[in-house]
Symmetry: C2
Subunit: 203 residues, 2 copies
């Protein structure tokens, strides 16, 4: 039930805020990407939110930390830095009053994949934050005592399955979110290439 | 287990980010309040994060929506508006790279309580966001099917108990977070007064 609850909260408390238009100032995720495209003069071929789910559940602060060092024969990720002189170089953030927190800010991150041959490819990606938080909960077992006694694989499997089912039934978010599994424990696996493959399948 | 997981995620993914100093640019919650005090020329008598837990689990975007209309004989809440000309009139936000999201922004909201007699009292408060998200999940039962079949009172009770236990064991957050129960279904109960009473107990 832990994983099921995490998926419900992630959908209701995040995806349902950043993906659909709010009928007001926020035109929705796709419009947000289109504004980014015209502002930065780039093309985002697949306008979806790519959510990276790692095998270890560890999620680094910046996806470029998954790049293989000293391998310029491989594709690599680079974050579009978020703000230069007040202008967002990534997606615009969305500000909303939520549960007493005025102007809570939600922002997605645009990344560029540089390929050894071929033009760079842009996409919007991040890790599954609830799984990262779970990772930190597991790490902190002494604090949580037997609360920390979770079957991690079960929670993760429940989270992914539940999220897929909810997305399939959601008119607002169906086809807007792409779950990408990445085995970060496999030295041969390069996230940038995993993402490129998925983009090719979806284009 | 849903409520237990929610409390662990809330502590690990939020309280542990906004309360302690990060040993770097962010000096921690108390320092954040002190900077707010000197910037705005106000006093915050109790430097804790007040988390309001409502009976219905409903959490309005702005706590001032709990004020009783047409009752200027009662104390009332007003949010310190977040930004005027680029200067934060509430607490400064904290920006951190989290799980692939660059510069994710965390901000707490300062409120002022205006009393019919006596000077205004400032505090930092918000609702328990995970319970608000749960409220929305329950509302959306058709989407979640039998996932939405949660015993709400049980989840809420688990959340509060687990959070209290974690906070008691947490060196970083112990005594920094104050859980405040508010019966929003009782027309006689005024949140501003409930908060004032708690502040008096803690001063
Ligand atoms: N990538 C990403 N960017 C976001 O802005 C964001 N906001 C929420 N989430 C994830 O969605 C889900 C539902 O969020 P909710 O607000 O109910 O709980 C949140 C909320 O109660 C609290 N919290 C986190 N960030 C903030 C914040 N900035 N202000 C107030 N509360 C916060 O701590 C809980 C756990 O947060 P995360 O562990 O980061 O993941 C959340 C969660 O899995 C996000 N995920």
């Amino acid at each position: 039930k832990y994983g099921v609850g995490m998926a419900c909260n992630f959908y209701e408390g995040y995806l349902m805020i950043v993906i659909p238009s709010d009928g007001g100032k926020f035109g929705g995720f796709i419009q947000n990407i289109e504004a980014f495209e015209s502002r930065e003069g780039v093309v985002v071929p697949v306008k979806k939110l790519f959510i990276v789910i790692t095998k270890s559940l560890y999620s680094p602060p910046d996806l470029q930390l998954f790049n293989k060092t000293n391998r310029d024969d491989l594709a690599m990720l680079e974050a579009c830095s978020v703000r230069i002189g007040g202008i967002s170089k990534s997606l615009d953030d969305l500000e909303k009053d939520i549960a007493g927190v005025k102007n809570r800010s939600y922002k997605n991150c645009a990344y560029r994949i540089y390929r050894p041959s071929g033009l760079p490819v842009s996409l919007v990606a991040e890790c599954a934050t609830p799984l990262h938080t779970l990772y930190k909960v597991i790490e902190n077992k002494e604090l949580y005592g037997d609360l920390g006694e979770v079957n991690v694989d079960e929670v993760c499997a429940d989270f992914c399955t539940t999220l897929k089912n909810i997305l399939a039934r959601s008119s607002e978010c169906r086809d807007r979110v792409e779950l990408v599994y990445y085995d970060d424990t496999d030295p041969e696996s390069n996230l940038a290439d995993v993402l490129l493959d998925r983009i090719r399948q979806l284009e």
